[in-house]
Every structure is written in structure tokens, then in C-alpha cells.
């Protein structure tokens, strides 16, 4: 058993070092800032605006893209088709791209000269230097988190329950909403939270599309560049705390799925 104990010790030490590496900088940042500094920064209207703007845009972006991402996840889980692996590669692509490069690619697409940007401008919508452009940048780099989590969720739904619903007379649409989605719900929400969290912390792609209006990560960068680390630190703390709060809140809500996903006529009969 001695060898086993040694093994446990080595692994525990290695694991602790990695955890320490994550915790230490964050803890250091909290210890290096005074409470009054944080309070003053929290009262700064520019910081407040930027934090709420970031949360709102990240949430809207996730919600908007979920409309297409969830069906795509279902297709990836259920259907066999040629070049499926290529499609999966395309879905994963934003994760491996340098985010500034992704931002440049996206800028070409949504600027006035680009395909989407040109079309949007004809409809009177400008996609660069505003919330819409930022939402697109956030979505571009964070979509894989939602698609892949939802795909795993749908893949874990026993296909037979869907077949059973077919034999009971349900349409495919009905089966999706009453059989597949409720069973995959936890994974879909978890993917939603991951996409939201990843989207709101995005800097590289967003800063290429729009420096203003400032989202929190850009604001932190701007404070750092203009005033140095001591000015950037309180803003970072506030953003981290708010982000954590929302992250925990969504997790709690997701585990209470009946609250979020009430069935069609639960109450009536």
C-alpha cells in the first residue's frame, strides 16, 4: 500500500499546484486592492454602465444565437450525413483561432464593405462600433460551448423515447419540444451558461469590432493602458464579482429546471 500512498501524495501535490496557480493571482488582486478603492470604482458611472452593458449584450447574443445553435446541436447528435466531421470541425474552429484574428475576419464580414455589413446597412443597421457588432463578436468565439454541450445532451437522450413518441402520434416538432429538449435541458442550459460566460469575458475579437461602447474587458484594458495596474485592478474585481454572481445564479436556476421549464399543461390537469 506504500506505493499507492506515494502515488496519492504526488498527484495531490501536482493538482494543488495547478489549483494554486488559478487561485493565487485572483486572491492577490483582492488583497492588493483596498475596499474604498473598489467602492469608489463601483460608484463610477462609466464602470457601472460598462458592466451592465457587457452582461446585457452577452445574454442577448447567447439567446439570439441559441435559436439556431440548439437545432444545429440536435442535428449533430441525431443525424448522419456526409462530411459531418468537417461540420464538427467548423463548429470547433472559433475555439482554436486567435481571437484577434477571429475579430479581423468578422470585421471584414460585418463592415460596410462586407457581405453581412453591406446588407445590414441597406436595411439601415450599422454593425460596427455598436452593441450589435459586439454581440456578433461575442457569439463568434463562444458558440462552440453551447453547440457542443447541447449536442452531448441530445446524444444522451434515448432515441427510443423519441421513437415511442412517434408511434404515439406526436409530430417531430412536438417530440423535439416535449421529449428531446426536456431530457437534454440540463446540458442545453449548461451550454447556454458557458456561452454566456465566455461571451462576456471576450476581449480580442470585440476590441477589433468596437472599442466603444466599452464592454468591461475593454474598459479594464483601457484603464490599464491609461492609468496603470492600480486603476485597472478595482474594475477587474468588480467585473469578476458580478460575473461570478451571474454564473452561480444561472447554475442554481439550471438545477431547478422545473422552475424554468414548466410543461405546457402542468397546471391545467
Amino acid at each position: 500500500m506504500k506505493g499507492h500512498t506515494l502515488f496519492n501524495w504526488i498527484f495531490t501535490i501536482l493538482a494543488s499546484l495547478v489549483l494554486l496557480f488559478i487561485i493565487a493571482p485572483l486572491a492577490g488582486m483582492f488583497f492588493d486592492s483596498s475596499f474604498s478603492e473598489v467602492r469608489t470604482t463601483a460608484a463610477d458611472p462609466a464602470v457601472r454602465r460598462s458592466v451592465w452593458f457587457t452582461l446585457a449584450i452577452a445574454f442577448a447574443s447567447t439567446l439570439f444565437f441559441a435559436v439556431g445553435a440548439v437545432p444545429l446541436a440536435w442535428i449533430m447528435a441525431r443525424k448522419k450525413f456526409p462530411l459531418k466531421r468537417v461540420v464538427q470541425g467548423i463548429i470547433d474552429l472559433p475555439v482554436v483561432l486567435p481571437h484577434t484574428a477571429a475579430g479581423i475576419a468578422l470585421l471584414g464580414f460585418i463592415s460596410r464593405e462586407g457581405a453581412l455589413g453591406g446588407a445590414a446597412q441597406k436595411a439601415g443597421i450599422l454593425l460596427v462600433n455598436n452593441g450589435a457588432g459586439i454581440a456578433l463578436a461575442m457569439a463568434f468565439v463562444s458558440l462552440p460551448f453551447l453547440i457542443n454541450a447541447a449536442r452531448d445532451g441530445f446524444a444522451a437522450v434515448p432515441e427510443r423515447t423519441e421513437k415511442a413518441a412517434l408511434t404515439l402520434g406526436a409530430s417531430q416538432t412536438r417530440i423535439f419540444f416535449t421529449v428531446s429538449l426536456p431530457q437534454a435541458w440540463r446540458s442545453v442550459v449548461s451550454g447556454f451558461i458557458m456561452m454566456f460566460a465566455r461571451g462576456m469575458s471576450e476581449f480580442g475579437a470585440v476590441v477589433i469590432i468596437a472599442y466603444h461602447p466599452m464592454i468591461a474587458p475593454v474598459l479594464i484594458y483601457d484603464r490599464f493602458n491609461t492609468y496603470g495596474i492600480s486603476a485597472a485592478r478595482p474594475a477587474s474585481i468588480i467585473f469578476i464579482l458580478v460575473a461570478l454572481l451571474f454564473f452561480v445564479l444561472f447554475r442554481v436556476l439550471a438545477t431547478e429546471r422545473r422552475v424554468l421549464f414548466k410543461r405546457e399543461d402542468d397546471a391545467s390537469d
Partner: protein, 357 residues
């Protein structure tokens, strides 16, 4: 009522070939076959979860080969029952009624009736994951029957039920059938087929190799595979020798069998049930009886007593009861006579060497 005409379907390396069956109204049709024989696939073709490559399906005279699953009026209970885990028992049973946009009162009435019929009224508020195998089976049946299906397809309905509860489910299915429900039931268990079926179809490697009443199939298996399915172990490939006053057969291992007088083909398979084989030290007496000498090779306990294997060149299997064993005290290696009446021997198929797929 239901007729399939040369249904064929290729699924990866496996294929169902030329399946033609006919199920009359009120029939209890059991499809018997080993796992991987294509039973489930055939059910999925009939209810429309898959489309055939060739062939047609007719229900009450109407061609339903390419009709949507939802519109066929065929109910199916899957082997794993496929209850919706996120719904209560009540919501599971009510699911097909909601789909049909029935009004609330009618839905509640129907659910109550179906639950009462299956004796699960007290389970209505429970979740499927809190139910036993037998209870789940009843819920799945109620959920399907609440739609009044023209035909009920059951895929291995006894598979998830404890042995002690099988009788219960069997009684339930018989009662359903007595009340007029046409049923197609898939199983690998010949006992289940005998106890329930009005007709049996034996499916093997994607083909129906024999069809008939359970007794027909049991007494006249078309080949060694079906006979083995019916629990028969004594097989002998023989050449028949007939003259104007006697008939006999000689096996490949030179065992000689006396047969009743009659017409025989030149060669074929002979079978005899293990319970019709007697063992003794001195041989049995009686006109024309077969007495074959051999050595006891193995003695294995069975549910009713013992199964004794005798090596007489050919191997013979005999079932004896506990009491017979106590009296005779046979031991391995002992020389014995294997005895049976000529009338107990049956010829497989029509004596023709039917290919075993």
C-alpha cells in the same frame, strides 16, 4: 387484418428478406427468433419507424407501406419500454391524448380507465424511475392502449419483468387478446410463444422460416433450428430403408431406428423429444420398440429432474424425474439401453433437407 408482402430491408450488414406474414383480426401472433434475427426491425417496419427497400404492408386492406408512423393506428411497446422519464405516469399515459388534442375531461377519463385496466391507478403520480419492471411494463401498455391501436406490437414484453411476475403479464396479455386486441408479440422464448400464441412465425437471419399454430411448429419443425427452438435435442440425419413389411432408418453413425410402416423419403432428419426417451439397464420390452445400447456420458440436473446424455455412437438425451433417478441411481460411465417407441420418432419438415439459414 395485417398482411406483409415480401418485405425486405437492408440495415448495414444485416437484411430482412421477403417477409410475408398474415395476421387476422383478434390473432395473437408470436414472432419467435434469437436476438439478432431481425424481429425488432420487422416490428419497426410494420409500425413505420423504418421504410422497407421492397415489399408492401397492408392494414385492413389499405396499403400503409409509406404511411406516416403517426397515422397508422399501430401501437408499439418497446423492449426497454421507453417511458418518458421527465413525465409522471399520468402524463406518460396522457401524452398520446394531448397529441390528439382531446378535451381535458375526455383525457382524464381515458387515463383513469386505462390505469384501472392495467391496475396502476395508485401509481399515477409516480415518476417512471421509481417503478419496478412489471409496473413500468403496465404503464407502457396503458400509454399505448389508450390510443385504441388496431394492432399492438410488443417487443420482448417479458424481458424487463422478474420471473415471478411473468405469469401476471402473461395473464394480462391473454386477457387483452380475449377482449379482441390483435397482438404481434416478439420473443426469443418458445415457452412464451406456446403459452400465448394463436399463430407462431419463426424468424431466423432475417427470414420467416416457419409459420403455423404453436402445436404445428412444435410437432412438425421444418428444420433442425426450429426443432432446437422447440426444446428438442435428439436429432439424427438418417437414410430411410423401406420394404413392404417394415420401415427403418440408419443414421450416419450407424444407429438403426425402427419406424412405423409407411412412406418415407430416401433421407432426412429424425427427431425425438427427450421426455420420450427411456433409460434402463435391461432394455424395454414391447412389440417393435427401439432398444439401443450406449454408455452414460453426462448427468445434469434440470428443473424437473435430470438430463442424461448417452453415447451410443449417436448422442441421445433423456429427461428423467427425481423419483426415477432415486430408483435407478444411474452413474456416469454405466452401460444402459436407450428405449423409445417407433411412433415417438418424427421426421423434420417433409423429410426434405431444408436449408438452415
Amino acid at each position: 387484418m395485417l398482411r406483409t408482402e415480401k418485405l425486405s430491408k437492408r440495415i448495414d450488414a444485416f437484411s430482412l428478406r421477403d417477409i410475408s406474414i398474415e395476421v387476422g383480426k383478434g390473432d395473437y401472433y408470436v414472432l419467435l427468433g434469437r436476438s439478432g434475427a431481425g424481429k425488432t426491425q420487422l416490428l419497426e417496419l410494420i409500425c413505420g419507424l423504418m421504410n422497407p427497400d421492397r415489399g408492401r404492408i397492408y392494414l385492413e386492406g389499405e396499403d400503409i407501406t409509406y404511411k406516416r408512423v403517426q397515422d397508422r393506428g399501430i401501437g408499439m411497446v418497446f423492449q426497454d419500454l421507453s417511458l418518458f422519464p421527465h413525465y409522471s405516469v399520468k402524463d406518460n399515459i396522457m401524452y398520446p391524448l394531448r397529441v390528439r388534442k382531446m378535451d381535458l375531461k375526455e383525457r382524464v377519463d381515458r387515463v383513469q380507465r386505462a390505469a384501472a385496466g392495467m391496475n396502476i391507478t395508485d401509481l399515477l403520480l409516480r415518476r417512471p424511475d421509481t417503478l419496478s419492471g412489471g409496473e413500468k411494463q403496465r404503464v407502457a401498455l396503458a400509454r399505448t392502449l389508450v390510443t385504441d391501436p388496431k394492432i399492438l406490437l410488443l417487443d420482448e414484453p417479458m424481458a424487463s419483468v422478474d420471473a415471478s411476475l411473468k405469469d401476471n403479464i402473461r395473464r394480462l396479455l391473454r386477457r387483452l387478446n380475449r377482449n379482441g386486441q390483435t397482438i404481434i408479440h416478439v420473443t426469443h422464448d418458445f415457452g412464451e410463444a406456446i403459452s400465448l400464441a394463436s399463430r407462431v412465425g419463426v424468424i431466423h437471419n432475417g427470414r420467416i422460416i416457419q409459420e403455423g399454430t404453436p402445436l404445428d411448429v412444435f410437432n412438425h419443425p421444418v428444420n433442425r433450428f426450429v426443432a432446437r427452438y422447440a426444446g428438442i435435442k435428439n436429432f439424427f440425419r438418417v437414410t430411410f430403408i423401406t420394404s413392404y413389411k417394415s420401415a427403418s432408418a440408419i443414421s450416419e453413425k450407424r444407429t438403426r431406428f425402427r419406424l412405423p410402416r409407411g412412406e418415407y423419403p430416401s433421407s432426412g432428419l429424425l427427431i425425438i423429444g427427450s421426455s420420450e426417451v427411456l433409460l434402463s439397464r435391461q432394455g424395454a420390452s414391447g412389440f417393435g420398440i427401439n432398444n439401443i445400447r450406449g454408455v452414460i456420458d453426462d448427468i445434469v440436473p434440470s428443473p424437473t429432474g435430470f438430463e442424461i446424455t448417452v453415447n451410443a455412437g449417436d448422442y441421445f438425451y433423456a429427461d428423467i424425474t427425481h423419483r426415477e433417478m432415486e430408483e435407478s441411481r444411474f452413474v456416469t460411465g454405466e452401460k444402459v439401453y436407450v428405449s423409445f417407441r417407433p411412433e415417438s420418432l418424427r421426421i423434420v419438415g417433409n423429410g426434405e433437407d431444408i436449408k438452415e439459414y
